[in-house]
Symmetry: C2
Subunit: 108 residues, 2 copies
Amino acid sequence: MSSDAADAVFDALADPMRRQLLARLSAHPASATELAGELPISRQAVAKHLTLLSGAGLLQRERAGRDVRYRVTPAPLSDAVDWISEVGGQWDARLARLSAALGSRPRH
Amino acid sequence: MSSDAADAVFDALADPMRRQLLARLSAHPASATELAGELPISRQAVAKHLTLLSGAGLLQRERAGRDVRYRVTPAPLSDAVDWISEVGGQWDARLARLSAALGSRPRH
DNA sequence: GTAGGGTGCAACTCGATGGTTGCGTGATCA
DNA sequence: TGATCACGCAACCATCGAGTTGCACCCTAC
């Protein structure tokens, strides 16, 4: 029951800026420069976050001519929810339904 | 839609040692010294983690004579799941059921 | 009362990381 | 072809935080 994959996800979600990026990208795909224009940090800082998020499998890179668009691929999020349901499930039976609901998702 | 409470939870879950502590404590309440005996870090390091987890509302302190026992109170975890369902819900309708399932929990 | 074990507080080290700037590369368009 | 814009890489800085050690305090038991 190694939360091996969950490690990367929790690490990716740890930073508020990365959660903001994920929320923003879940609404609509965008490029690093585009995102940097909407946020108070530089393009390179955004790019670092996007690289880390991609590493966790939460983003998909798509080259579009001169720029690169990123789109959310939230499948790995269920690894985090699985872990949470394991911890919380022992305390509250309602959380047990989570792993059941997520059990049917395509893994990876 | 402030992920204000989720901030503390994601920060608490970011560290692997803290997740390990939570998993351990969800099985059975314990004291800091007790936990330090089972882990490769000092009691004070454990105590710091427990303080942070308590601050996020994930643990409840219970003084028992000379020692202090900690027990898991996973209610704040649903703040994290709520955030995840917001991001992932736009991609996969299955995750939308999560917030519905968690919506009936006592908030705070 | 006194010894001992658990807790709490404070100072310190050190590695990780979020952020920056600078520069080189590649693709687009006039 | 040349100007421009987006990207990638590298070096650098500063802060944060996980871990440690040391010591003082409190509760319990003998």
